[in-house]
Symmetry: C2
Subunit: 376 residues, 2 copies
């Protein structure tokens, strides 16, 4: 049984030059190679370059190479402008793009340097991994992900099209944004959450083991991305500081208010007198979070609140979750989201199945009939 739709031929024409063959660059190479595109690799580190070639991301350049049509710069954000500039000069007929996760900090220096901006279009595939380097690369890293394409007013339409086509060829969904809008957006949905996760996780460094044993799915979810690479994130945050800092200041403002309110509440516990408004302040902070999280789009463009959730006990043995989901499918009910949770030293896990609103009782009935234990 194959679940892969047949792969279309690439609309991207070769040769494509990939500069920087870490996780992203090598994944782009692998994806294009799978479509039959000629990919020429370059990396300042010869080890990284040869590793990328060996995993099949492309080939080394030769003196007889035809002129490249497209250059993809996949370097850390802080060195990206210089590399893009050099590539624009070295390949005077090629479209050049980069995949750095900040865009103003790339576009600005290029503009200041008088670069040939009609052939440059920035981009940012919203994909990655906790792993890094060419050996972690995947042809399908970008499948199903948004890929932001940042055309400036100087970009030629054909250059924008070439970058959109690259994204589409690699299975991503192109999203057109200008550089400032992109940078504000990723500060909000990626950079500030990263910092919050890291700061919460940093509190755990001195936590008692007994305390950490009480960790539930809430803590695990909040801190998962705190495992990300410090070097990469320093480069990202440094390059997008102008968009990140105002959001952090606003977060700190809310935090200050909350600390003051809880300080009053703390005193009140002893003195049995609650400062007027202190608890209202706490409630307002949690309620604002309710409003914010409800704005995150769900799978079908709705919000997560549009789902009913059914939680089921699943024995911790090979195949038991599969059996559960097979029976959900057999009932003709599509699973929208799935979360797994388990407690240490327990031979049972909890699977929280999200289904479209209105399907909860039918799913519960179907599963209970089949002998599953539905939990809270």
């Amino acid at each position: 049984m194959s679940t892969s739709p047949p792969r279309p031929a690439a609309a991207t024409r070769g040769p494509v030059r990939v500069v920087g063959t870490g996780l992203l660059g090598a994944s782009i190479g692998l994806g294009l190679r799978a479509l039959g595109v000629d990919v020429v690799l370059h990396d300042p580190s010869r080890t990284t370059l040869l590793l990328a070639r060996d995993v099949g991301a492309g080939r080394l350049p030769t003196p007889e190479d035809p002129p490249v049509e497209l250059v993809v710069v996949a370097a850390p954000p802080d060195v990206t402008p210089d590399v893009v500039l050099a590539e624009l000069e070295a390949h005077p007929h090629a479209v050049v793009t980069d995949v750095a996760s900040v865009k103003t900090a790339v576009e600005g220096p290029l503009r200041a340097a008088g670069a040939d901006l009609d052939r440059y279009v920035g981009s940012h595939p919203m994909a990655g991994s906790e792993r890094s380097g060419p050996t972690a690369a995947r042809a399908d890293l970008f499948a199903g992900r948004p890929w932001v394409v940042v055309g400036s007013e100087a970009s030629a339409g054909s250059a924008v099209l070439a970058v959109r086509t690259l994204a589409t060829d690699l299975g991503a969904t192109p999203v057109m944004l200008d550089a400032a809008t992109h940078d504000d957006a990723v500060a909000l949905v990626s950079h500030v959450p990263q910092i919050a996760a890291s700061l919460v996780a940093a509190r755990l460094v001195d936590g008692e083991p007994a305390a950490l044993e009480l960790a539930g799915q809430g803590l695990r979810d909040v801190t998962r991305i705190a495992a990300s690479d410090p070097g990469l994130w320093t480069s990202i945050l440094g390059a997008n500081a102008e968009a990140v800092v105002p959001l952090l200041r606003s977060l700190r403002g809310d935090l200050d208010v909350l600390i003051e309110a809880l300080d009053h509440a703390s005193v009140a516990t002893a003195a049995e007198e609650v400062a007027t408004g202190a608890l209202g302040t706490v409630a307002a902070a949690i309620a604002a979070g309710n409003t914010g999280v409800s704005r995150i789009p769900g799978k079908h463009g709705g919000t997560r609140r549009a789902y009913d959730v059914v939680t089921v006990l699943v024995p911790d043995e090979p195949g038991s979750l599969a059996r559960l989901l097979a029976e959900v499918g057999a009932a003709g009910i599509n699973l929208e989201e799935l979360q797994l949770e388990h407690a240490p030293a327990q031979a049972v896990g909890l699977a929280s199945i999200s289904v479209l609103r209105g399907l909860r009782s039918r799913l519960e009935e179907e599963l209970t009939t089949r002998g599953w234990r539905v939990a809270g």
Copy 2:
């Protein structure tokens, strides 16, 4: 096919009186009723009380009732001490416990009031739901979760045993802690993460729709618990302010340092001169998060780093995830963790399957052979 192990008879003897029949109280009632224990319900709200009776959580008291053996107070943290005190007086031979998520703020007032502490043992089941009230109650809400049991030096051994037994009867794992240790622990692993999630989510209130469309699994994970109930959390945070505030101050200290460092980096972008140490400060903050998150115990007592992750493309149709997991199970490989992700407007999702270290290449081979597309 039944996946439920046969239920043992309850070791808890009845009648058990449950005071407060919201989500937790009604779930305790349902769980005990399923074991054949006589459960008598009470709630200050007659509507909540009758709803709990109607979902099968227990019965109303009668004048002929035998003396209760155990009283479970499941009230909001701020009213719990008064309710516990009243129950200790009304039932002079019963063991009384409560399930409030803070413990010093309950034990302190009881001690000050000269309560009969040898019959009181606090507790805190680490379970809950975004939903509330008796209609959200589940007999299995506590299955597989830690249940903190807080005996003071005044508690009788038999009283501690009664509460441990209650936890075990409901499928939970008892964890013995003193009140202060419990409160510090939940501040660290639950209350501070809740506040961080709410503050990050609150930033989204004014976010552009285009920005929210770029939201990935990172933002979703960090903000999931921001959907929790403001009223309940105000009571929890107010009652545990003394443990929460020092952690928040320490988080704010780190945040201040980070904002200052990024401010320098931001200026540097324009002036091309990076303040000494500014970027090192950013890297240190992310690295501290790495260390912290690695301390969270995983399923088998290890850390999440002990898993290999394989990401697979899954068509968005009923049964396809089940087929995938069936083939993982058929390969004899146990799934340790599972995360689902999907992009808006894409007919495909990404399933990240965590398996024990060393199993990655075998799983990838098995799945690729069966026609699945393995992504990055």
